[in-house]
Symmetry: C2
Subunit: 484 residues, 2 copies
């Protein structure tokens, strides 16, 4: 598919902006990001109202998500100011080394125009002003967002506010733009000036774009976050210790936001005969139907649930005490029960994400059966262990299997709720992500940087962070890390 005239213009503007951005100072970029955050916060009422109308998510959630998003912009302002992300390294000459070391200095520099594919389920935090955009801008790259059709008015409004704030703060005019539609989405990934892609969405859609990005004459990195089952393991001792709390916590987590989170716990492993699924179904019966983001997503959920119901060995668990309800446009939470044999079956849909308020409770026959089942799961963003107090220390093999399967391992708690922090890792083995990187947290910036080494460069030709004078950032000098 060929690019629209709009995309051609947008990419030319991005290339022009990059010529300015690649020489921009860290302090300028930190200021721009803060200005963008302030501008979005100032329009919180209007933006939240549009988001509510377009996504059917509740106002309180949307206000919290907007604040998370603007705090994320401010967080990347801090990351840029801190400067450790540059990995600045200086080696003075050492003629005695084999081979000799010349004056050699290395740091990370921005890669160029970044394409960002917005997600449906976080209209602020994983959309136009979300983590991919924040980290790409912080690194010094222009961003072209392919907006999600689930919230087009919000996307344009956020982009306008953000672009205006960035430009008023001094950024070049081509720093941020949007495109929409399938043809431009494809053209954006294939455009020779696109340097990298950030993506949050489905496995089939993400894989198709990953394949496009890697099959280009000049392949580019494709940072996709595609899908995750987020298994939870609950031991019999944990059930004995706090069964009611676990039921309540699980129902809260898998129904939050109508289950439309990439970290929704989709599978829960319990010992056979624990009766846990029945308790979960009873508690889930008290959750009111919720309207999903889009009809297309609701249809996808219904198909996924139907496929689960149709699979031999999988049973829908319904609470006999829950009165039948008028669903209107809403979706009530669904609880399924299965055993590990159903998970092991060829083409088992139990191993596929069902995006929405559904959970499959899987009964296992002891630790060996459980660990074998865990190793058969596709890679995930998270894996959670609920053990009794002090019990985890005796579950080393299980914990190792959970660590192998995911990017974040939780000991207690629930995987929904992804903190924006220095330590966050929101990624994991394929298909959770298509790379070894995170899309949330400080190190998300590394995706949009490339190393550049300078050999025997005159001091004035070096970026300020690599000159002889102190740069006020952590640097490794002649092998020794120094703080400033």
């Amino acid at each position: 598919m060929s690019a629209s005239e709009h995309l051609v213009t947008v990419m030319a503007d991005a290339v022009a902006a990059f010529r300015v951005l690649r020489r921009s100072s860290r302090s300028d970029r930190a200021r721009w990001l803060t200005a963008a955050a302030d501008a979005l916060d100032a329009d919180a009422d209007e933006l939240t109202a549009i988001a509510e109308r377009e996504t059917h998510l509740p106002e309180a959630r949307l206000r919290g998500e907007l604040l998370r998003t603007t705090n994320q912009l401010r967080f990347f302002s801090d990351v840029v100011t801190d400067g450790a992300y540059l990995e600045a390294t200086i080696d003075h000459p050492d003629p005695s080394a084999t081979p000799p070391i010349p004056d050699l200095r290395r740091m990370l520099v921005p890669i160029g125009p970044v394409a960002v594919f917005a997600a449906s389920n976080f209209p602020f935090a994983f959309s136009v002003a979300g983590g991919d955009t924040a980290s790409a801008l912080a690194a010094g790259n222009p961003v072209i967002v392919k907006i999600h059709p689930g919230h087009p008015e919000l996307s344009h409004r956020v982009a306008d506010r953000m672009r205006t704030a960035l430009i008023e703060a001094g950024a070049p005019s081509g720093i941020l733009a949007t495109v929409e539609g399938r043809a431009d989405a494809t053209a954006l990934v294939l455009h020779p000036d696109t340097a990298a892609v950030g993506f949050t969405g489905s496995i089939p859609g993400g894989r198709a774009l990953f394949d496009l990005a890697t099959s280009r004459p000049t392949p580019i990195p494709f940072y996709g976050e595609l899908g995750s089952l987020n298994p939870v393991v609950i031991t019999s001792d944990a059930l004995a210790e706090r069964r009611a709390v676990l039921v309540e916590g699980l129902v809260g987590s898998f129904t939050l936001g109508a289950g439309q989170f990439c970290t929704k716990p989709g599978l829960v492993f319990v010992p056979r005969g624990s009766g846990f699924a029945v308790d979960v179904a009873a508690a889930a019966g008290a959750v009111a139907p919720q309207r999903m983001l889009m009809d297309r997503i609701h249809d996808g959920f219904r198909s996924g649930a139907a496929a689960l119901s149709a699979q031999p060995g999988v049973v829908r668990v319904e609470d006999p005490h829950t009165p039948a309800r008028e669903e209107d446009d809403g979706q009530t939470p669904l609880v399924f029960s299965a055993d590990t044999a159903a998970l092991r079956a060829d083409d088992s849909v139990v191993r596929e994400e069902c995006f929405g308020p559904a959970v499959v409770v899987i009964e296992h026959d002891g630790e060996a059966d459980l660990i074998d089942a865990i190793t058969r799961l596709p890679g995930g963003l998270t894996a959670t262990l609920h053990a009794a107090d002090g019990e985890a220390a005796h579950l080393g093999t299980l914990v190792a299997a959970l660590e192998d399967s995911a990017g974040r391992v939780l000991f207690g708690g629930w995987p929904t709720g992804v903190a924006v922090a220095w330590s966050q890792h929101h990624g994991g083995p394929y298909p959770a992500t298509t790379s070894l990187f995170t899309s949330v947290g400080a190190t998300a910036i590394r995706r949009f940087l490339r190393p550049l080494a300078f050999q025997t460069a005159p001091d004035a030709m070096l970026p300020v962070e690599l000159r002889d004078a102190p740069a006020g950032i952590p640097r490794r000098i002649d092998g020794v890390l120094r703080l400033g």
Copy 2:
């Protein structure tokens, strides 16, 4: 192609070894690497003799290369001991954040069995015991090397010595193995237990394997270093200042090791009418013919040289004073001259690497013409500027173009000779590499690690580097980087 029984066994052993390695301590791995280095050094005489016979490279070069290789193993021992490469990060809970921050700790962990494709041209430094192997082992991964057919005896001998030393030092027996042949090479990349691939070789071979790695049901990272033109720009002021030194330096660099370096300067840009190519040809005439690594590589060089000669606008420059010589099995250096029009031609072979002792001197018509030509080059490992004293400061646009084109920019000097250092970056835009990483220097280790976050983990369940007690390594705690 299906895997041989040997490969099946080797991969099973690697998977078993990884279960041990993933829990190995940094101090153990540092010791293993040093033991391997010492063992190879102890056999320097024998190994050098085999290498000389198999590669036709001179003894002094091979002895230097072996020392570089063992020092590289020791360097990665230092990198592991230093521990900063783990990116250890600890966030204590902050319930006031939006969203709240739980106890969250992140570090890099090894990814699993790594496949390494050895290169022809560095029988030690980019082969069985080379940088890919050293960095993958340092990270805590088992390595399976696909040996290069150019030096099979040496490869097996080095692997035996290294494996024995590693195991005697305490490493698990499946830590290092070799495979050979096309069928197993393909099967290795496609094997479900292979977690990543390191590759040094040609563009067509590397791209084919990259395509395999990315088209797997579960794609894996393919770190390929494929090819580079390593352009050198010499200004008229630099020529005026030190013409003879530049001629001598260039000839030394492009004929070193019969030009069989990935950093060989293949293109040299000079102002039109400078007569530089004639001087280079005269100096190159004094270089004795050198035998190339393999007949296949020599044939490839002859084809590349013939294609250059056949391209309109490209002229072979021969020195009239150089007597005709008996070449036997050797190859005399070749000098070509062209202008930027020849470089711009569709399918110009001037834009392709000619692996061996050849250089193309390109005459340009001023800065705009030069910069345009640079921007048309494929991505490279290096780009070099020879300017007169103080002149570089006035060449900002040219320097920016060079920075965009390569991973290492040299101000003076020559690109051959790749120091093993903290600051090294041996990588660059495609096709120089297929990733944003280096294959030489401290950060090469990052290729074979993945982030893992622990949420609310009991202290005893954490890797020692993430526990509350001081770990003696740099860590970021609650946003503040601390040295130890």
